[in-house]
């Protein structure tokens, strides 16, 4: 039976990860729509979303046929690698070691690239613009697809996690349609930090279960793991921010 402690982390991870990725894709689609018209932008986006939805619908049920222990181990390891990679990058960004994601700069770069393409190949512009939107949505959406499948596989959570991702898409597109400019005020790094925490917690939980560990408290252990990863991320970020002490002889 589906319980809140089982579904909430999966749906939350899918929702917040999707917000991060959809904001990034939206910036490029907005550049395409603003510069080359909304027809190629809409066509490219719709084609990409259809491809990603097909990937979820094909891969999701297929994974349910894999033996549960093997599935938990493989997905757990992938989640650990993916989640810790996000958490590492978000910690470094929070510490100011690497720059924050700049949606305005990405919008300007994409606009310049499309402008350059316009000068070179006038006749195929709609095609190029449509493909630009398609590529942006597919590349950003791949991560969403992985997260939705990974947090739901083998637990019957494909629909709730998929709906969480879809809700994020609708939310970002609705806000984007209203403000009609890159969504620079979305706290992307904070969201990425949070999602990295959740995915790392899922990773440890599933990898352990795949190896035969019976975690005390079952799904509730996820919240403990998440709290520990949050603490570790904050400590790592604080340490990275600290200036190096130099010894002068």
């Amino acid at each position: 039976m589906l319980t809140l402690s089982t579904a909430a982390p999966a749906v939350g991870a899918a929702f917040f990860a999707s917000i991060v990725e959809v904001v990034e894709a939206f910036t490029i689609v907005l550049a395409v729509g603003t510069l080359r018209g909304w027809r190629p932008a809409t066509f490219g986006t719709a084609a990409a979303l259809a491809s990603l939805a097909a990937a979820i619908l094909v891969l999701g049920p297929l994974l349910d046929r894999v033996p549960i222990n093997l599935l938990q181990l493989v997905i757990g390891i992938l989640l650990l690698l993916f989640g810790m990679s996000w958490l590492r990058k978000a910690s470094l960004r929070a510490a100011g070691v690497i720059p924050l994601h700049d949606e305005n700069a990405i919008f300007a770069a994409e606009a310049a690239q499309l402008g350059e393409a316009a000068r070179r190949r006038q006749t195929r512009l709609d095609w190029i613009a449509g493909m630009t939107a398609f590529k942006a949505v597919v590349l950003e959406g791949l991560e969403v697809v992985f997260i939705v499948i990974a947090v739901s596989a083998g637990r019957g959570l494909l629909l709730p996690a998929g709906l969480g991702a879809l809700a994020a898409c609708v939310l970002v597109l609705a806000v984007g349609a209203i403000v009609h400019r890159p969504l620079t005020r979305v706290p992307e790094n904070t969201l990425k930090f949070g999602v990295g925490v959740m995915l790392s917690a899922f990773g440890v939980f599933w990898t352990g279960e795949g190896l035969g560990v019976a975690w005390p408290g079952h799904d509730l252990a996820l919240f403990v793991f998440a709290a520990l990863f949050l603490g570790a991320g904050l400590v790592a970020s604080a340490l990275a921010r600290r200036p190096v002490m130099e010894i002068v002889l």
């Binding site: 690698l81 996000w86 070691v97 190896l211 975690w215 520990l228």
Partner: protein, 72 residues
């Protein structure tokens, strides 16, 4: 063809943000697996090692990356 390459690169990049971190995580998982399957230690204890190992790896990797002036 170019797009397929980009999609493939994106897929690889999803799991290998930092090669050293990736290898270290895989080494911890392999070590914990060996402790359970070969050494026969209590799985819950091995699970604790997995958790603490991953937390330690994260802190060490972020700290080392910052100190070495890493740009991703």
């Amino acid at each position: 063809m170019t797009m397929l390459k980009e999609i493939f690169a994106e897929l690889i990049g999803m799991f290998v943000g930092d090669a050293r971190l990736t290898l270290a995580v895989l080494a911890i998982v392999a070590g914990v697996s060996a402790l359970i399957k070969i050494a026969g230690i209590d799985p819950l204890g091995a699970g604790g090692i997995l958790l603490v190992g991953c937390l330690g790896l994260l802190v060490e990797n972020v700290y080392r990356s910052a100190r070495s002036g890493l740009r991703p």
